[in-house]
């Protein structure tokens, strides 16, 4: 075990290195580039024995990854923003084919207007493609997610590709002290990838065929069950992770002082760290506030949200996303969880951080203030006035 001073991207690259994928196939894009550069360096220096495939686009990057996974290889790719959108066609091939590829996505705004900075409109616009989606808070969680993502994706009850999301620049390019596990413990934690779903000379199969109206519903149902199964596999994986590395994660959500809270901010990604600080400051003033961080958006933590928020008066969903003409997509999903649990607390939507705009402590305090008598309107935080 060692400590290193790493950016979020580098931390994730170290995690991937420890997981020893057979194949890495990626095309560079800001702010993902440094994760691929780090992995290319590991391979060049001989520290990682992976086949590193240079491709001409993101569409090819994921296509090559699918091909590798289809012969039973542990496979990694990474992208961001327009690159993720360019991959979109292949995303459903990977998930429908049940190929447990791991992808790191550096969350970045999507054009137009052209913008390279962080928000979550890239990945959140692709929730229906059948990929597991996790959102990291800090560089340590990025390293840990890299290890856990292979375990979860490749589990026989899941067999579904995994998208680990890191906020562009705020996480991908900031440096923190990260505990790096030793190879031996990682090998004990992470079993080799085994699957029936592969081309095999000793056991020939027909892979990736078409399925007409007579069986398509059944294939899609099984795909849904695979993602649903992730819930129990994530918990099993995190227990196992705790036993090997002594760091505890809390499943689909992280509940911070929600227990007796009247007002809670529900959010995802790095901004949760700042909300946590504001919660502490307001708690010190005697205000009953809390934070619920969504660690996974697919599978969606319906029951976990209802459990954490059952005694709360009002929530604000803070997200770096807007589904134009409606509201933030995370807000839609959270409201559905509340409705299914028959909870009638007030809930509002705060759209912030678009195109990399900073979210300040004062703005978070204002949101908590607003929650005292909030309506359910969609509000854009920090919008310039007339």
């Amino acid at each position: 075990m060692a400590r290193k001073f790493l950016s979020g991207n580098e931390a994730f690259a170290y995690g991937v290195k420890k997981a020893r994928p057979h194949v890495i196939s990626a095309y560079p894009i800001t702010p993902q580039t440094t994760v691929v550069e780090a992995l290319a360096t590991f391979v060049t220096k001989g520290d990682l024995k992976s086949e590193f495939i240079h491709v001409e686009s993101e569409h090819s990057a994921l296509s090559a990854a699918i091909g590798a996974s289809a012969v039973g290889a542990r496979t990694f790719t990474a992208t961001s923003s327009q690159g993720l959108l360019y991959m979109a066609e292949c995303l459903t091939y990977a998930s429908g084919g049940r190929f447990p590829i791991v992808m790191m996505n550096a969350n970045r705004s999507v054009a137009l207007p052209w913008n390279i900075y962080g928000d979550q409109r890239d990945s959140l616009s692709l929730l229906d493609t059948g990929w597991i989606q996790a959102y990291a808070k800090d560089a340590q969680e990025a390293f840990d997610l890299a290890l856990m993502s292979f375990y979860i994706a490749e589990h026989k009850d899941v067999s579904t590709p995994f998208m680990a999301n890191l906020d562009g620049f705020t996480l991908t390019h900031t440096y923190e002290s990260v505990e790096i596990a030793d190879d031996k413990t990682v090998d004990e934690f992470l079993p080799a990838f085994k699957t029936e779903n592969k081309l095999d000379l000793d056991d020939p199969k027909n892979l990736g065929f078409s399925a007409g109206p007579d069986t398509n519903t059944e294939f899609k149902y099984l795909e849904h069950i695979g993602v649903q199964n992730t819930v129990k596999v994530i918990l099993e994986c995190e227990d196992r992770f705790y036993k090997h590395f002594n760091r505890r994660y809390t499943g689909l959500v992280e509940d911070y002082r929600c227990d007796d809270a009247d007002f809670v901010i529900v959010t995802l990604g790095t901004v949760a760290g700042l909300v946590q600080d504001v919660v502490d400051a307001l708690r010190a003033e005697g205000k009953k506030v809390g934070l619920l961080r969504l660690r996974y958006i697919r599978p969606f933590p319906n029951e976990e949200i209802a459990k954490a928020l059952k005694n709360v008066k009002a929530i604000g969903v803070l997200e770096k996303d807007i589904s134009f003409g409606n509201e933030g997509t995370v807000y839609t999903n959270v409201n559905s969880a509340l409705k299914k649990a028959n909870l009638t607390l007030r809930s509002s939507n705060y759209i912030a951080g678009l195109g990399g705009r900073d979210i300040s402590k004062d703005e978070i305090k204002d949101i908590f203030n607003d929650l005292k008598d909030s309506d359910s309107k969609v509000k854009f935080i920090g919008l310039k006035g007339e």
């Binding site: 429908g96 084919g97 049940r98 779903n197 027909n206 065929f209 069986t215 099984l222």
Partner: protein, 95 residues
């Protein structure tokens, strides 16, 4: 090598694999949009196997010194006719 293709009825969820993969023989017959079928004149065919290599559906099977068609999977695309140097393949209307 066994080349017969089975038509398998799927009526239970447990018949469906978790991913779209299957043992050889699982595939169902799929040639409904063909209007004309290929015919090989064995007196002209020299068994060169070019058609066997070019057929995009794998619907041509080597048969002794010649070939035969697997009409359950032939889509009627005529690539075999185009590629045959001996002019051995022709198409006739299905009856």
């Amino acid at each position: 090598m066994k080349v017969e293709l089975l038509k398998r009825d799927i009526d239970k969820l447990s018949d469906i694999p978790f991913a779209p993969f299957a043992k050889p023989g699982h595939t169902t017959v799929n040639s409904g949009f063909r209007t004309e079928k290929p015919v090989c004149d064995r007196t002209k065919c020299n068994g060169c196997s070019l058609c066997y290599l070019y057929c995009p559906d794998g619907a041509i099977v080597k048969d002794g010194k010649g070939i035969k068609f697997d009409l359950g999977f032939c889509k009627g695309c005529r690539i075999c006719k185009k590629i045959c140097k001996k002019g051995a393949i022709s198409f006739e209307v299905e009856k």
